[in-house]
Amino acid sequence: MKPLMLHGHERSITQIKYNRDGDLLFSSAKDNHPCVWYSINGERLGTYEGHQGVVWAIDVDWETKRFMSGAGDNMLMIWDVQTGKALGKIEAKTSVRTCNFSYSGNMALYSTDSTMGNPSEIFIIDVRTVDSSFSTNDPILQIPLTNAPKATSMVWGNLDEVVISGHDNGDLAQWDLRTGKKINLVSEHAKSINDMQLSKDGGFLITASRDCTAKLFDADTLDCLKTYKTERPVNSAAISPILDHVVLGGGQDAMDVTTTSTRVGKFDARFFHLVFEEEFGRVKGHFGPINSLAFHPDGKTYASGGEDGYVRLHQFDPSYFDFKFDY
């Protein structure tokens, strides 16, 4: 089926996310206005105005009440989804690279870049207390990553007790929230981890790395289970909620893309079997690297956001569901 092209951003897409119900799709880009769309027809519902820099990361809580965005203007903003009004603003020392709501939606984490002598830091905040005066409040927990590679991607672990961080050098670390201590560290990737996403039940974790692979981890033990190989840096990877499939997106770095044909870049979304690590399909479309991927919660649609500034919503054909591996 013909994909829906969502053309509301003026610059490259940085992250896209569905809400839990799957009726809305949130997107952020290097322009300063995160957008929200109806996922069913691609109509834009609205934008969240207030940032003055590249919006790097977004998240929405499970009730679709609050929306959060972290940006290059050193701001983390929490919004009311429905009205688009800013509920809170937190100023960080450096740009905010990741932000995630916890399972309960009561807490949130965000992490900052290491620039200008400031180390990368991970913050945990209580979202319930957020109001316009929140900015000065201290977080529940603050983990500075002094003399350590910066955090490039984060997810919440099981039952809001741990958080998992992916780093610039390919390390994965697991932090205990009660003590603030690192409880596990694995170095499976050779280069920076660009994205991490959990499986539907939170048992598995997929990482996308610049080292041209995506890997599947046990989200509790951080055991590396599977590796999906490509020839280009992987910017994002997602696990299908209904089938044993994963989708990988990436492509040649934007700075390396020359004026030659798109074939060189390999900007396809690539589908792998979760267990067999075998590629079985590709979806063309973007004319720049794919920066973010997300499965619709019903598993029948997926969305991709690219360096080219487009968000594409692809509905799977019946043949996708008919296809089975022999085993």
Partner: protein, 701 residues
């Protein structure tokens, strides 16, 4: 008297030391020998180091050389001999003295002493004339006079050298015994850090050997496939046998290029930088004996020469190199110049050996009024078997057909010539293909004129066709010509506007791959030239190399890191152009098929096999099918196992998940989101209206 006195004192001294050692220490010790003392220490023991430096009879004669093997002549011809020898030996330095020992009857004794002004000149003579062939019956043996001392010291009794224990190398041709005649290929990747050798089994190639840092740059197979050569800063190593053990090493610092002789007897190594070092012996090019590992001869290299500098005849008997206005042909195993002199060829531009005969084809450029010409020279007789004069020649390229039946010379001819100081500018270039029929009487020559630029030319390795790419890219055409005995070549097929730039014939002929490499982004076309059907087309984006396997069943295409920095990979195709395997490797550099020696079957046997091909092919098909089903069975087996493992883990995860259900619900304000996913009782039905489109219709009033 003095001696006497000393001995007295010694005695006295001895007595003193016996009686009272402390009293008279100040008194001078007496070194005299006691009375009647006999010296039993030889001078040698006493001051051997000094004696060794004692002048010898032979001192000051380092500049004298002794020449043996000089013809013995009567007194009447001595003067003539002296003149001839003087001429030869004067080249090396100033002769200060010469001596011809004579027999009582006045004839020479067959050896001569010559003294030079200094020792270094004498050394030069030694290098230059030892083993010099004076004439048919006389070869000089030259020694320094001082060396005779050395030879004197040699023990009289001959001791047989201990035979080196025979080193079992295993069967070096084992790879030819493979039941299914699968071919091997070598792969260099990770920028040369890793080398692997695979056996091209179907459906998956199987790894035979993989080694890190096996070579420093690249690898080369020997022409018959026996050895694998690896390049190192210090030299070349050859590997072979089933385990790829080291067979032999050749030490040649800075070696960059190697070339095997066609029968693998010799190896030529070339180190372009070796010349800069000031050593007496040439270092740049060394010819080695592959079996013994010994150096055979070394040469200096001209900077400008195109590689390979030495070209070998098909049977390893001769090798040749081109110089200014001359062609030097050397013979093996003596490694001397054939007939002791180079062949003078005024204005020689290029040469090529016939692949099956000891015939050299060379061409000379136009010079004032003499036309350019192509000459076929038979060796060792130096008979010019055919000379073809050509006019208005800008350039020539010679292509031998693999069986040596034909030679095609591509001649670039010009309509107009303009001389600009030293530059020569040609205009109105057109092309001629001069085809020499080598197997016919008088070697008739036919020519084919082609008006367009020739991009590539290739003979069918077995057969009588050749293919030409002509025209300006991208609108190039490909023409096929057939050559028949006693006839001019006829065009059999022309593909108009076929964008390609390289021709790759299958080693057994008939099939050809037309490839558009590099700038033409890797388009491939597989053609059967029997009926000129295009069997398949393909594309390996940005491919840099195409290579057929030695049996002509498979084709490999590659994007080498040397040529293109991204997407380095090699792909394997069937000869019909069906893609079989894509292998992407990080910084993949080079794929090379292991060559096979020529078939031992006679022409008749090959014909018989071809006749009963149907019978064999049925067998092979059954075999292939078995292999495929086995492979797919294995794959399914593997997948089943993986799935089982994963399912176990997932089950465990799901149990944990179920256990934590209560806590999860607590976290979300007692809303059970596990089950509902938007269907929950407390969720309200919401109607969303979308704006789909706006239409304006005018209704007639």
């Amino acid at each position: 008297m003095a001696r006497r006195k000393e001995s007295d004192r010694a005695q006295q001294n001895n007595d003193d030391s016996d009686s009272n050692p402390n009293d008279e220490l100040e008194e001078e010790p007496n070194f005299d020998d006691p009375e009647g003392y006999e010296d039993d220490i030889s001078e040698q023991d006493l001051m051997g180091d000094l004696i060794r430096q004692r002048p010898k009879e032979t001192d000051g004669v380092e500049s004298i050389v002794v020449i043996d093997g000089v013809p013995q002549v009567g007194p009447e011809r001595i003067e003539k001999l002296q003149n001839v020898l003087k001429k030869l030996f004067q080249k090396f330095g100033k002769i200060t003295n010469e001596y011809y020992p004579l027999n009582p009857d006045g004839s020479t004794k067959g050896h001569v002493f010559i003294e030079y002004s200094n020792a270094s000149e004498a050394l030069e003579v030694l290098k230059g004339t030892n083993g010099y062939k004076f004439d048919k019956n006389h070869t000089f043996t030259v020694n320094l006079l001082t060396d005779f001392e050395k030879y004197n010291d040699i023990l009289d009794k001959w001791e047989n050298p201990v035979p080196q224990p025979f080193k079992e190398q295993g069967c070096l041709q084992y790879y030819l015994l493979d039941q299914d005649a699968c071919d091997q290929f070598s792969v260099v990747y990770e920028q040369g850090d890793k080398v692997a050798v695979y056996l091209n089994t179907q459906p998956e190639p199987s790894l035979l050997e993989e080694r890190p840092r096996w070579t420093e740059t690249l690898v080369r197979w020997s022409p018959l496939g026996t050895y694998l050569a690896t390049f190192h800063a210090k030299g070349i190593a050859l590997w072979g046998g089933e385990k790829f053990q080291q067979i032999v090493r050749f030490s040649h610092p800075g070696v960059q290029f190697i070339d095997f002789s066609p029968c693998e007897k010799y190896l030529v190594s070339f180190s372009p930088l070796a010349d800069s070092r000031a050593t007496d012996e040439p270092q740049a090019i060394i010819i080695w004996d592959v079996l013994s590992g010994l150096k055979r001869r070394a040469f200096n290299a001209d900077k400008s020469q195109a590689l390979p500098i030495f070209k070998w005849s098909h049977d390893d008997k001769y090798f040749a190199r081109m110089g200014v206005d001359m062609l030097s042909v050397y013979e093996t195993p003596s490694f001397g110049l054939l007939d002791k002199k180079s062949i003078k060829v005024q204005g020689i531009r290029d040469f090529a050996w016939s692949p099956t005969d000891n015939t050299i084809a060379y061409w000379v450029g136009e010079e004032k009024d003499t036309p350019a010409r192509v000459t076929l020279l038979e060796l060792p007789s130096r008979n010019e078997v055919r000379v073809k004069n050509l006019f208005s020649v800008a350039d020539c390229k010679m292509y031998w057909q693999k069986s040596g039946d034909y030679l095609c010379v591509k001649v670039d001819r010009y309509a107009k010539l303009r001389k600009d100081k030293s530059d020569i500018k040609y205009s109105g270039i057109y092309y001629n293909l001069e085809v020499f029929h080598m197997r016919e009487k008088q070697i008739p020559v036919d020519s084919v004129e082609i008006k367009e630029t020739i991009q590539a030319f290739a003979w069918e390795p077995v057969g009588t066709k050749f293919a030409v790419i002509h025209g300006e890219p991208p609108s190039t055409s490909v023409s096929f010509y057939e050559v028949k005995t006693g006839q001019t070549p006829t065009m059999v097929k022309k593909y108009e506007r076929k964008p390609c730039n390289q021709l790759y014939w299958a080693p057994s002929g008939q099939f050809i791959v037309l490839a558009g490499l590099r700038s033409m982004s890797g388009a491939l076309e597989f053609v059967d030239t029997q009926d000129f059907t295009v069997m398949n087309t393909g594309e390996h984006f940005m491919a840099t190399d195409v290579e057929w396997d030695p049996t002509g069943r498979y084709v490999s295409t590659a994007v080498s890191w040397w040529g293109h920095k991204v997407d380095n990979a090699y792909w394997l195709w069937s000869f019909q152009g069906r893609i079989l395997k894509r292998v992407a490797l990080d910084k993949f550099c080079q794929l090379q098929w292991r060559p096979r020696p020529p078939s031992l079957l006679s022409a008749q046997q090959i014909k018989d096999i071809k006749k009963s091909l149907k019978k064999y092919s049925a067998q092979f098909e059954v075999k292939d099918r078995l292999k495929m089903t086995k492979a797919s069975k294995e794959l399914v087996e593997k997948r089943r196992k993986l799935m089982q493992e994963y399912e176990d883990l997932r089950k465990q995860k799901q149990e944990e998940y179920a256990e934590q259900r209560r806590r999860r619900i607590e976290l979300r304000n007692n809303v059970d989101t596990d089950e509902t996913e938007g269907r929950g009782g407390e969720l309200e039905e919401e109607t969303v209206e979308f704006f789909i489109k706006e239409e304006t219709t005018f209704i007639d009033e």
